[in-house]
Each structure stands twice: as C-alpha cells, then as structure tokens.
Amino acid sequence: MKLFDHKQQMYVRNREFLERLHLDALLLLGILLLLISGTAIVFSASGGDWEVTQRHLLRVGFAMGLMLFFAQIKPSVIFIFTPILFLIGILLLIAVQLFGDIGKGAQRWLEFGSVRFQPSELMKLALPLMMAWLFAHSRHPPTFTRLFSGFMLIVLTAGLIVIQPDLGTSLLIATSGLFVIFFAGLPWKLIVGGLLAAAGSVPIAWEFMHDYQRQRVLTFLNPESDPLGSGYHIIQSKIAIGSGGIEGKGYLGSTQAHLEFLPESTTDFIFSVISEEFGLIGVILLLAMYLFVIGRGLWIAAQAQDTFTRLVAAGLTMIFFVYVFVNIGMVSGLLPVVGLPLPLISYGGSSMVTLMIGFGILMSIQTHRKMLAKQ
C-alpha cells in the first residue's frame, strides 16, 4: 500500500477568509441569495408584519450559525458519529410513539422542557448519512446483502414515521435514502424493476391510508369538487399563481395573500405569493437560483475524495431538490398537499435548521479535502 505518491503533491492551502471558515464561496452565495429573497417575501406574505419578519431573521441567523458550526466538523468525525446519530434517531422515533405529543391527529412531537422537537426532522439528515456510512465500505458493485440491509434501514425509518402517521415526511425521508443507494451503484435493472413495482403497489397503499390522507389525494385529483373545504387551498393558490401573469403584480402586490384568501401564505404556500408578485419571470429566476445551489452541491459531490463524502454530498443535494420540487408541485396543483415548506424561503422553522445543517456538512466536505494533484 503506497501512501503519498511522488506524483501527488500537497496544494498550498488557500488562505482566503472563507476557506479558513470552511465555507464554500459559491454555495454560500446561492444560499444567501435565497435567504435574502425569502426574508423579503416573508415580509410581503405576512401582510407587512415586522414582528413576523424579525422572528424569521432571528431563525435565519440561528440556522446560519449552525451551518458554520457543522462546516468546521471534519467528515471523518461525522463518519464516526453517524451510526450513533442514526440509533438516537430511531430511539427517539420509538419514544414519540410511546410518550409523544399529539397534535392535529398525529403523534410527531417530543417535549423536552419547553422545547418541542420532531424526531423525524433529525432523520432527514440521519438516514442519508447512515446509508452513506453503510455503502462507504461496500465493494463495487454493492453486494446483495448490503443492498438488502440498506433497504431494511429505509423501511424501518419510514415505517416508524408512517405510523405517526405522517405519510408525506416518511416518503420524503425514504426518497433521501433511495438516492444514496442510487449513487452507491444500484444496478439499473433493479431501479427499473423497483419503479414498476412501486407503481403496481399504489392500489394496495390506498387500502392502508388514513381517511385524511385519502381525502388529500382525492382533493388533489379534483380540487374543484370541494371548493370551500379541503380543495380551497389549492384553488386559491392556483388563482394566486395564475393571476401573477408573466410580470407579476409587483412586490407587496399580492392581493390573494393580503386579503387572506391564501392559507399559510408565509410557510407552505409562500411560492404562490412569489408567483403572484413576480410572475413567470420571478419564478424562473427563483428556479435558476435553486438550480445553481443544486449544481454546486453535485459539483462538491464530484470533487469529494472518498465514497462516504461523495454519497453524503450527492444525497443531501438531491433531497434538497426533492423538497423544492415537491413544494412547488404541491402549491401549483401537480402533487398532493403534504405540508412542506419551500426550502430557504418559507418562514423559518425546524426545516430551515435541518437544511442549513445539511449545507454545513456539504461545506465541510468541500473544504476539508486533502488537496491532491490531478490524477
């Protein structure tokens, strides 16, 4: 086993300020652009409420602090702690079943003193990390045993969340795990076969759904059937989006939000406010910003130097994309309403914290590389 080859030489460390903070300049730029736009939109969507906006900024600041903190942690340290983190996550999910707080028909919250905490939020990071950990040692292509144990971990995690019940989150978390398996080298024939099987299982899933979940799916398929009930949100959201036109009604011009036709205009439905105020042009700009962040994330994955960090970077980036796609698809009537905020834009909550920690890990991966010469 050869260590440093003579052909490999250490790059001189870049002494730039951001580098010393372990921050990636381009990724940070994309994130900041989104956060700034988000704050402006939260102000408008809340009907010009300074208090809400200030609280949002506080949360943004807190999340930025966490990103900075996680960027300092070496990927090798993250690697060591991953199984522990995952185990804690599983135990907390079980604890939720046993002692959890029930809110809006679901048991999702754990209470520590005055702090309420949703263990499924932790799993949004812990599961992709755990999958990357599992495949970091894998031979190539991965053996059947390893693939199988990977699937089992996904099923276990998603299963614990689905019984809360929280179908939407459990699907999202399962997806993040599946992305890691995909990047780890799942054979194409298994991918195609799996997709076909999933399509075939839809009628079976329907049988096991809760009434409110079926209701969501039904209203999604035909929102006009119940215009004052559960379809109301989607109809009003589509009106907001459509009435924005190409150029939009201008900043603070969203009548749908200000006259309070739009539900949850600062959180899940904030995209409708953007579309109404900035039109198709604004939407394309926003999507371009997202694509920039995703592109940079995948680039970091391509540059990463070991299997673990490669899989983590690619997995976290793709799940970020899935959140964007699902939220926009939901408010524009393409997907059923699952209750998911628009990443980095919506009025901050625990989801913003999770995402920013994820970006912290991406930055850590990028800035802790051993600078090797091109091969």
Binding site: D49, E51, I241, G245, L298, D306, S332
Partner: protein, 623 residues
C-alpha cells in the same frame, strides 16, 4: 477498514476507479433529471401564468367572497329568583385597518385629544402593536368608548378612512364584587389559553371565563360562532351580505345563589376577612357563597390596568384568595360532634358516661388545657358538645385513636374535595397514621391525637367542606354535593347515605348541637333565646395565625383576636332548610363573631321579618 485507508488507496485500486467513474455518470444522470424536472415546473407555471392568465386574473379580481365570523353572545347569569346578576351591555369602540388609513400618527394624536376617560397607557400599547401588525387586518381598540367620546369621533370620522366606529357587547357585573368568588369573571384570552382553547369555537371572541362559575361553565356560556359570507371589493370592504349561518349563542344559566341573601351576608361580614357558606342541605344548592374581602370583576373585562392590579395583589387582606374553597383553616371545635358520633357508633364510649373536667387533661406529664380555666366539672357527651368541653374530647381521643377519628370524619367529606362547581378547590387535611407516614414519613404520636380531637394540630378544612359536613349531618347522613348551577330534580345525581348502626345516634349529637343554641349552658345560648325555630349549632375557635401570616402585625391586635372565629349550624332541626359555615379570621372566639353572623344569615333566609340579632359586647367569649 476505515474510510481514510480507503481514501488513500483509491488512486491505485481498479475497483475504485470504476466506482468513481460510475458515480460521476450517475451525478450527470441526477443533474439532468433535476434540470428536466425544473423545466417541467417552468412549463407548469407557464401553463398557469401565461396560457391561463386571463382566467385566473378574472378569478382573482372576482375573488370577492370572504367569510366573516359572527361571534356568539355569551350566556347571561341569573340568581335562583331570576334576578340578573351577569349581563352583556352594548358599548362603542373603534376598528382600524392600517392598509386603508392615511396618516396613523395624525390619527393617534387626534384620538388622544378626543378621549378623556380612555387609559392612555393601553392606547400607546395598542398603537405599538398596530403599527407592526398585518396591513390588511382589522384591529379593535381594547377598551370601550363613552357615549360622548363616540359622538365626538363620529364628527371627525370622515377625515379618517380605515377607522370605523363599531358597537360590541361587553360583560358587566351589576352587583360588582358581590359573590365574585363564586360567580368569577371573564378576561382577555391570554397566550396560555390560546393554546388550549378550540380555535374554531373562539374565532372572533377575545374573552374567556377566568374563575368561578364563569370558568367552570365556560362551554355552556360561550356558544358557537356563526359564519357570514360577504361580497367584498378588491380592497376588502363589504358590499353585500350573502349566505349566513347564525351564531349559536351561549346558554343563559340560573345559579342557586340568592343574591339578596348573598349581599346581606357580605354586609354582615363588614371589613372582616373570612367566609360564609350557606347550603340547602336537601339538595346541596349553594344559597350564599361569601369570601371576604371581594373585588370588582368589572375591572377585568377589558384587561385591568397594572396599577390597580398591583394594589389588589399587594393588599394585605388578599382579596384574590377564594377563601370558600382555598382557605384552609384548622376547624377547631366545630368537628367535635363528628368525633362524638364516631365514638358512640363504635361504642368506644357510652353517651351517658360522665367525665370529670378539672380544666386540664394530663398525659405523659404534659398538661392539655381546656378553654375554660376552672373546668366544666362533670360532663356527659350532650354537655360536652353544648359547652364545647375540650377535656372530654382529650380523654375520649386516647381511647379512640387517630384512625377512628379519621374514619368518623371521612364520610362527612373532610380531607376531600367537596365537588363544588368552582375550579381549583383545595382538599384540606384529615390526618391519620397513614397520612402522616405518606406525607411526612414519620410515625404518629399519641399526643397529636389529643389535639386532633378538638380540630387543632394537622387538621385543615375549607369553609365549603365545613358547610357540606354540616349539611350531611343535618340530613342525617345524605351525602349531598354542593353546587351553584340550578339543576332540575331529574338532573340531580344520586346521593349516597351514610349508614349507621344505631339510628338514634344522629339525634344524640344533634341534640348536643341544639343545646349549644338553646341549652342553659350552651356556648351560643345568647343567640338562640329568641329564635322561633329550633336551631343546631357548634362554635369553634381556632388558635392560629392568619392566612397571610407574613403580613400580619400581631402586636397591633388584642391577643384574643388572633384566633379565628368559627361556627357551623343548621335549622330548622326537624326539617333542615339551611346549613351554614362561618369563618371570621382573627375575630376572637366562635361565639363572639361567627355565631351571630350565622344566626342572622339563617334568620334572614327562614324568617326575613325578624329583627337582626345584635353582635355581643362582652358576653360572648365562650368558645
């Protein structure tokens, strides 16, 4: 193999090269996938915003149906004689929408010069939140405007778009502080309550019951909001009313209180601290519920200003303490009849056995004094109750033991919540060996039994418990639950009956209580002489400190006034219609203050035509 080893190895490993190539390929697949889906989203947006713009634009413009909440009117409260004691009065206030207003500063200045009675502090606070709140939301001034103020605003209102004079209903308590601890009051919904209240039911409502009946029967009184669909213009102002689902108003309720008796009883208490509870022993209906001092519930409806609130909170007489259910007092001699009943029931003593009282009882070298220095001489049970002989009960207690005393008193509700319909009742303490082991982790000492027999030591009872126990005794064992809400006979819960071995034992102790009022040596004989009906009573004097010990300046008071004055009683003995418990804090012996108060309350209820029984000058120092 650690990831670092693998890391260092990868440049040489064939497998890793292959793996890396495949990973890069898959990144490209993933990015293409992302890109295509983004294009797909843009396509969807173009479909909505470009191809269907006209349709959605039209819908947004026509989005004029909005929903207004019609809050329910809170139920009124009447007394047992259908006298209105809690009402809703119309009042004026202003509603402001920031988006529609021209100049908030100018309006604020003009409004301040316009209003003379309105609390300035609250106005400043309102404008501070209004300035940063939602632009399109309507905010309502928290306090009411007087009619003159409303008229003055009406004159200038045309200059201030976005500000509307509106009329609302406000909870009012015409009897002010009378019965406030029973009736309770409403106040603004606070942060904590927002979390627990049903948000649909409380849409459009900003008050909620905070204490007493107003809190206990919140769900009856509140009602359900209605909904009105209105057609609005793009600015949100109402053009036309469409469909309406009316609100279901809260229920009016009748209480068992007799507000006139209540008022009379409070006046009898004067400026003393304490409590009077009067019950109908047959049904458990609360006829009067006095906790002194009181305070004016009208102060809380709009939100009390902090200065008044602080003054009330720091008042050494503690008006906020609900003494009827939370005042836990040593019951003193008012429990002797229950101990006596237990003793003859278990045949621990014969009711005819005479004990000699030299004025003290000696046990293990300690002297336990009787309240009467020279003693009562030879007394049997009847006289021991009539004269409240301590020595008799000291001696009896050692034969009974604390657990028998506990078992004798428990069926009368001591040490348990009475179940009265006022939230937050205290349990009091009914000591026993087990109680002491559990709460103090100590064994019981016999000396403690001696003082327990006269209601001192660990014993603590609330006035409601004492009144209920007296009512149960008056009923000869029917265990009623005190309640304030008037019920139909059919709604009443089944009551249990205390079963006793010898039915005549009821009369034995009750006759002892009759002798308290009507006997030659009874402790309250001065107040029983002229009564046209037979009354049973028992005086009590609790040697203690006041409820609020810390603020209590004992040096300023006559020593005898340190004791709490207690009295329990009922009448007529043959067919009881009223049972009363009175506690006057630091007012001397039971016969001095509590007894005449109780006699007057009972007289007022049974025979309002009779003149008041005067308070004694120096005669009534019997305990």
């Amino acid at each position: 193999m650690s990831p670092l080893n693998e890391n260092l190895e990868f440049s040489t490993s064939q497998q890793n090269q292959k793996r890396k190539r495949q990973f890069r390929n898959r990144l490209i697949v993933a990015f293409s996938f992302t890109f295509v889906l983004m294009l797909f989203l843009i396509g969807r947006m173009a479909y909505l915003q470009w191809f269907n713009y006209d349709r959605y634009h039209g819908l947004a413009e026509g989005n004029r149906i909005s929903i207004e909440v019609l809050p329910p009117t809170r139920g009124k409260i009447y007394d047992r004689n259908h006298i209105l004691i809690v009402d809703n009065q119309p009042f004026f206030t202003l509603s402001l929408v920031r988006e529609d207003m021209k100049d908030i500063d100018a309006f604020e200045a003009e409004l301040k010069s316009l209003l003379d009675t309105y609390p300035q502090e609250s106005l400043d606070k309102f404008f501070a939140t209004f300035r940063v709140g939602r632009r399109a939301k309507s905010y309502t001034l928290p306090h009411s405007l007087s009619e003159q103020e409303a008229a003055r605003f009406a004159v200038i209102s045309h200059r201030h778009p976005g500000v509307t004079l509106i009329s609302r209903l406000k909870r009012t308590y015409p009897y002010q502080g009378i019965g406030v601890h029973a009736i309770g009051y409403v106040g603004r919904i606070n942060q904590k309550e927002i979390k627990t209240l049903d948000s649909t039911r409380y849409r459009g409502t900003d008050i909620v019951g905070k204490s007493g009946v107003e809190k206990y029967y919140e769900s009856l009184l509140h009602g359900y909001p209605g909904i009105q669909q209105v057609e609005t213009n793009v600015r949100g102002s109402v053009l036309r009313k469409l469909e309406t689902t009316p609100a279901i108003n809260g229920q009016d309720i009748h209480l068992t209180l007799d507000i006139e008796l209540q008022k009379f009883a409070e006046e009898l208490m004067g400026d003393r601290r304490g409590s009077i509870i009067a019950l109908d022993p047959q049904t458990g209906e609360v006829l009067a519920y006095v906790s002194m001092p009181t305070f004016d519930p009208n102060l809380f409806v709009d939100g009390i200003d902090s200065k008044t609130y602080k003054a009330l909170l720091e008042d050494p007489n503690k008006p906020f303490i609900n003494r009827g259910i939370n005042g836990q007092y040593p019951p003193g001699s008012t429990i002797k009849q229950f101990v006596a009943l237990g003793a003859i029931e278990k045949e621990i003593i014969s009711p005819f056995k005479k004990i000699f009282d030299p004025g003290y009882f000696e046990y293990k070298g300690n002297r336990y004094r009787d309240w009467k220095r020279w003693g009562h001489g030879l007394v049997d049970m009847h006289l021991a109750i009539a004269q409240s002989c301590d020595t008799y009960f000291y001696e009896l207690s050692l034969d009974m033991g604390i657990d028998n005393i506990h078992d004798a008193m428990a069926p009368f509700g001591f040490g348990q919540r009475s179940g009265i319909d006022i939230p937050g009742e205290s349990k009091g303490i009914l000591p026993s060996q087990e109680w002491k082991r559990i709460t103090k982790n100590e064994p019981w000492y016999r000396g403690e039994t001696i003082i327990s027999s006269i209601g001192q030591g660990y014993h603590l009872s609330t006035p409601v418990q004492l009144a209920r126990a007296t009512a149960i005794l008056a009923n000869r064992g029917k265990q009623i639950t005190p309640h304030l809400l008037k019920q139909l006979d059919s709604e009443r819960e089944q009551t249990l009956q205390i079963e006793i071995r010898k039915i005549e034992n009821w009369e034995r102790v009750i006759q002892g209580m009759v002798a308290v009022m009507h006997g030659k040596t009874g402790t309250a004989r001065h107040f029983g002489v002229d009564l046209p009906f037979t009354m049973a009573g028992k005086t009590g004097t609790a040697q203690v400190f006041s409820l609020n010990q810390a603020d209590y300046d004992s040096a300023k008071l006559d020593k005898s006034l340190h004791d709490h004055s207690l009295f329990v009683g009922f009448a007529p003995v043959e067919k009881p219609r009223i049972a009363v418990a009175v506690i006057a804090e630091n007012s001397g012996s039971g016969s001095k203050t509590a007894a005449p108060i109780a006699v007057n309350v009972i007289k007022r209820y049974l025979r309002p035509d009779l003149p008041l029984t005067p308070f004694p000058n120096n005669t009534g120092n019997d305990r």
